[in-house]
Amino acid sequence: MLSILWGGQRLTLYSGRAVHWRRAKTLIVADPHFGKAAAFRNHGIPVPAGTTQADVNRLSALLAVSGAKRLIVLGDFLHHRTGRAPGTMATLQAWREEHPSLEIILIRGNHDDHAGDPPPEWNFHCVDEPFIDAPFAFCHDPLSAQHSALSTSGFSFTGHIHPCAILHDSDGSSVRAPCFYFSQHHATLPAFGTFTGAHPIRPRNGDRIFAVSPDSVTEIATVAR
């Protein structure tokens, strides 16, 4: 984990791919894509079971270690409507029941539009972007954040693009690592889900990149292009 100051607020970046906003006792994650493996299986693509359980375990651990009272999900909570498989939904429900007092805000993403909101009894507060809690705005798609009035004045958290950094090794090979991608006004979180892909980003000067390895978060220098 790593602590930074952004938008005048103290933030903790966890290698479990979450941000803790200390003052608001809020844990922020993006793109869990729950049920993605199940949706794949449903479409005849073999993906082993177990990813959902692993992900909710990680989420519980993050909540415990950060002491957060509120969870903000920056969209794409569910991957696909065919992913609302009984097993997956049961796992998620059990997890919800373990955290009855946790306030959960889901900013709907493009996948949620299609997959639908979580069942009402799970007590998610589902909203369309942007969700504002000063000084921050919370969106799914960075483009909507940039196009809104927030683009130059405020500070917004976004997901959607699953950012990763390409680290070049000394031998010319490279390895990808999910990353937190902070520019002056926008912060994009890595995808939370285990079974999610990642998209290399092209940082500009002044951007800050925090690469995530399984147990650490490290800022890497960006080179001017």
């Binding site: 299986r41 449903n42 000394s170 390895v175 490290t218």
Partner: protein
């Protein structure tokens, strides 16, 4: 039966080659086999005219013959009007017919079912017409598929079609010949789904696609002949295995079918044939067949002796000649002069980027050659390639700069001159390329080598020696004179295999008279061309024939083998889904069909069960994936079918085992397509970036829908794309030939001009270090700013060296923690370390031991990205990855995930998955070539080890050092450790960049990290 063909040949003044006649006769006898003949000698007609003659015969006599592959079994002679089948007699494929009630092909057309029970078949009264749709009169085309031609390359399909058509038309046979490849328009596919033409040309992928539609049993029941072209290209690849599985299915659907293959030079032709023909469906049942009968096959060798001459362009000044590198532009002007001296030239390069660079450089140096020089490689759009081929054929361009895209080809594009840019790498490959010149039978193939660095001079000298048999009298010239081999028409032929076993290597006189030794007996005949429209060369007179034997270099040349694949489960998984999409299958039946292929004849029961489980429920019973549905098992008959129409559609799009990156179409904004490009390259570009493609400098405008839209760039320079997977290692045989040359240099023998040219360099090597004797392993140690270098020279080819260097680094590091950096080339490898590696001879011996080889290799495997990389292909083949395609909708994209992600998820949540195992196996067998590695270690074990400390990099060491751009990363780190470490390194480097001047050595920069733990 063969009269019409003979007459046609006679009308044209041609005389068939003996190997053609042999093939026709063998086909007539109902045999399957493999024809081995070089390009341009008429092998197409050897295999194609048999089926045509058969058809003509049936038409004229109204009789069908029942040749069965083994000469026994089903039926007697159709002529007699009745066919009897002994109920209990030996019928090779009764199973398929009985079980499925398949109509007995073409006997009565009425589909006599269960004939095995009745024991008797009666032909309809009213005459002996045997074709189902009473085509007694000539001119009625068959209503179902008779002949199927499988070609590895779509690009060849059109050429093949022309060839096949020429014969059909000349013989006045009313067959249409159609194509069915990935390029075939949807409307034609639709029609073909209902009604197949009498002859069809497909790729292996299209064959699979066709099997994925229901009704294939009807479509293929009358199939008589399958011909697989360029079989050597498919052998040893997953596409080859896909072909094997497809063939097994066709044989099962149509038991009478005969399989013929065409192959170029290979060291293991006998094995190639066995793979092609598969095993007979001997004992059918669940248990592995105890007595596997080899499918009787006939290996026919039409290899007309043809001498290959190797020459090289030589730099005027060897001092200026680079010690390493691969561009070779120093010889640009000499290359241009050579192009101008010949009417037509093929300039072969080893990789696509090299072709692009050379094309650019040639037209830059000589703008007047624009329009006379063209570029041809696999990524360029098919239409453009076709244009180039046509222009060359018409003699309207002088030179084509090309890659292996022009290695293949039925009979097309003979040229005056063939040039090879850079190391020939393999003997078979070089001979095949050389064969593009001197197309007249009996003429000499010549290849002009363009070495790109000093050591490649040695390689060309070695290659020349390898293709010119020693003057010791091996392979007596003029064998051709001995004439025809005795061909026993029907009898058992005792040693067709054992003979071929030695085949190419030893044309011992004892081989005479045995069938299959066509090469020894193929008389140099009157001229024949396979393109009837080509001008015919006048027949050689008897006298000329007598005088020309010096041109027939006896074929006692060792050429490379291709090892067939063993049990690639990803291909099996794909095939299972393919068949489930089509007519479905039952487990018991399919198991024996699958086991009849060479690739899966060793398939264990548990592997089979795993594959079935994988497609039906994901994992084995206890680890079944929830809600998983791909293939389902029907209730009543236990038939496996595909779970949904959507899966069926997706699967068809995924069929194909060609392993490549996702490809992006490159097209001008105005619309014209240039070709295909790896997505990984395009994704690194920004709009406005320029790059070189298809011989032009273009500027990226945007990427949209899997298409990179480009426009012509104003500036003349751009980034040179680096294509993946373009590296071709030295073959074992070439490596051995090079070792011989180096040993000659050691003994001061510099006979060829290349060796004389490289002499100063070799003498420098002797002075600064040594040239090792054949039974010595040279280890050089030196120091530089980069650290302590150890160079080790097994001279065994890059592939072996890459595996060996990983192993050595791993073993050294396991004794003493240290960081090391390794680099390999075709001659040896380098270990670079911060601290000196102080091992004495005994300790080095321990490092090179074969004890625990596999364990240690697996030990360093976890440490490399190799398995992950191998899994990339496996995931695609097994249908985990849904490749992108132009215009796909959003839904499709939601079901795409990278192979890396799959690898991680499988490793964590289903580690028992056999596909992971396969990835490991592939890396060991194919990539690291453990077998070859063991041989190298054995050789080292018997060698003396010479450790020499040198002042500086030696002529042998320098090229390896210079290679370090593509070093291999060897470390025991997990991905996590690696990210962690690199993050630290990046931080440091970033700090240093701020302090230091930007001119810091790139190389030093690169060498800053890489750790072996």
């Amino acid at each position: 039966m063969l009269e019409p063909i003979e007459q046609w040949f006679a009308r044209n003044g041609w005389t068939p080659f003996d190997f053609q006649r042999e093939t026709w006769a063998a086909y007539r006898r109902g045999e399957s086999g493999l024809v081995h003949a070089p390009t341009g000698t008429g092998k197409t007609y050897a295999v194609w005219l048999g089926p045509l003659a058969e058809w003509l015969h049936e038409q004229s006599s109204g009789a069908a013959e029942f040749p069965s592959p083994s000469g026994k079994g089903v039926g007697g002679e159709g002529k007699s009007g009745t066919a009897t089948i002994e109920p209990n007699g030996p019928h090779p494929q009764p199973f398929s017919q009985r079980e499925k009630g398949v109509e007995f092909p073409s006997l009565s057309g009425r589909g006599v079912r269960g004939e095995g029970k009745s024991g008797k078949l009666t032909i309809e009264p009213g005459g002996p017409h045997t074709q189902p749709f009473s085509q007694r009169e000539k001119g009625v085309r068959p209503k179902t598929l008779r002949g199927r031609w499988i070609t590895p390359l779509r690009a060849l399909a059109n050429d093949s079609a022309e060839n096949l058509r020429a014969a059909v038309e000349a013989l006045d046979i009313p067959w249409t010949i159609e194509l069915r490849t990935g390029d075939t328009p949807q409307s034609i596919r639709q029609r073909q789904r209902k009604q197949l033409p009498p002859a069809l040309i497909t790729t292996p992928e299209s064959l699979s696609v066709m099997l994925s539609y229901s009704g294939s049993s009807d479509h293929f029941k009358n199939l008589r002949c399958i011909i697989v072209d360029e079989w050597h290209e498919l052998l040893g690849t997953k596409r080859g295995v896909q072909t094997e599985l497809g063939l097994a299915r066709l044989r099962w659907l149509s038991p009478k079918v005969r399989t013929w293959g065409l192959s170029a030079t290979l060291g293991n032709l006998d094995q190639a044939m066995r793979v092609l023909l598969g095993y007979q469906n001997g004992g059918i049942g669940v248990s592995p067949v105890p007595e596997r009968q080899r499918c009787q096959g006939t290996l026919i060798c039409g290899d007309l002796p043809k001498r290959t001459t190797v020459q090289t362009l030589q730099p005027d000044d060897v001092d200026l000649f680079p010690w390493s590198g691969h561009l070779g532009l120093k010889l640009l002007h000499q290359v241009i002069s050579s192009i101008e001296a010949a009417r037509t030239t093929l300039l072969f390069t080893n990789v696509r980027s090299q072709a692009e660079i050379w094309f650019q450089q040639i037209i830059k140096a000589r703008p007047d050659l624009i329009g006379h020089v063209a570029l041809h490689h696999g990524s360029i759009d098919r239409d453009i390639r076709k244009q180039v081929e046509d222009l060359l054929r018409a003699g309207r361009i002088r030179c084509v700069v090309c890659t292996s895209s022009l290695d293949l080809g039925v009979d097309f594009l003979p040229v005056d001159q063939v040039m090879q840019l850079g190391s020939p790498k393999g003997i078979a490959r070089m001979m095949q390329r050389a064969g593009r010149s001197g197309h007249q039978p009996g003429a000499e193939s010549r290849i002009l080598g363009v070495p790109t660095n000093a050591l490649e001079l040695i390689e060309f000298a070695a290659a020349r020696e390898a293709v010119s048999p020693s003057p010791s009298g091996r392979g007596v010239r003029g064998e051709g004179k001995c004439g025809k081999g005795a061909i026993e028409p029907n009898g058992p032929h005792p040693q067709p295999f054992s003979q071929r076993e030695k085949g190419v290597q030893s044309p011992s006189p004892s081989g005479r008279g045995v069938r299959g030794e066509g090469r020894l007996h193929s008389k140099f005949p009157d001229s024949i061309r396979t393109h009837p429209d080509q001008a015919l060369t006048p027949a050689l007179s008897q006298r000329e024939r007598e005088e020309s034997p010096s041109h027939w270099a006896p074929h006692s040349i060792d050429v490379e083998s291709r090892t067939p694949l063993d049990r690639p489960l990803d291909v099996l998984v794909q095939h299972l889904v393919t068949l489930a999409c089509g007519d479905g299958f039952t487990a018991e039946e399919l198991q024996s069909e699958i086991r009849s292929t060479f690739a899966f004849h060793k398939l264990t029961r548990s592997e089979w069960q795993w594959a079935l489980d994988f497609v039906t429920q994901g994992g084995p019973a206890l680890h079944a994936y929830p809600q998983y549905a791909r293939v389902i098992r029907g209730g009543g008959d236990g038939r496996y079918t595909v779970a949904s129409l959507q899966i069926e559609r997706m699967h068809r799009m995924m069929i194909g085992t060609i392993t490549s990156d996702a490809m992006v179409k490159v097209a001008f904004v105005s619309g014209a397509t240039l070709g295909m490009m790896e997505e990984s390259f395009i994704s690194r570009l920004h709009p406005g970036d320029r790059f070189v493609f298809a011989g032009r400098v273009v500027e990226l405008v945007r990427v949209h829908n899997m298409t990179a839209h480009v426009k012509k760039a104003k500036q003349a320079s751009g980034i040179m794309p680096r294509w993946n997977g373009s590296r071709c290692p030295l073959s074992t045989l070439m490596a051995a030939a090079i070792r011989r040359k180096i040993d000659e240099a050691r003994r001061g023998i510099y006979e060829s001009s290349e060796m004389r040219l490289v002499r100063p360099l070799m003498e420098l090597q002797s002075a600064w270090s040594i040239i090792p004797q054949p039974d010595e392993l040279l280890i050089e140690r030196t120091r530089s700013r980069d650290g302590h270098h150890v160079f080790i020279y097994p001279f065994d080819g890059r592939q072996v060296h890459e595996g060996l260097s990983s192993l050595v680094a791993h073993r050294i590091a396991s004794q003493e923690a240290r960081s090391m950096h390794i680099t390999a080339n075709d001659y040896g490898f380098e270990l670079l370390s911060g601290d000196p590696i102080e091992l004495d001879e005994d300790e080095w011996r321990q490092v090179f031991t074969t004890t625990n080889l596999v364990e240690d290799m697996l030990g360093c495997l976890n440490t490399t990205a190799l398995a992950r990389r191998a899994f990339r292909d496996i995931a695609r083949v097994a249908g985990l990855i849904f490749p992108g395609f132009p215009g796909q909708n959003k839904t499709a994209r939601q079901f795409q995930a990278s192979s890396n992600l799959f690898y991680e998820v499988f490793s964590e949540f289903d580690p028992q998955n056999l596909l992971l195992d396969q990835a490991k196996r592939e890396v060991l067998d194919r990539e690291l070539e453990v077998t070859r590695l063991r041989q190298t270690l054995d050789r080292i074990g018997q060698s003396r080890i010479r450790i020499i400390n040198t002042q500086t990099l030696t002529p042998l060491g320098f090229p390896i050092w210079a290679e370090s751009i593509r070093t291999q990363h060897i470390t025991s780190e997990s991905w996590a450790d690696r990210v962690r470490r690199m993050v630290v390194v990046l931080e440091k480097e970033a700090a240093m960049t701020k302090e230091n001047s930007p001119q810091r050595s790139q190389r030093k920069h690169r060498k800053a990290s890489s750790i072996v733990r």
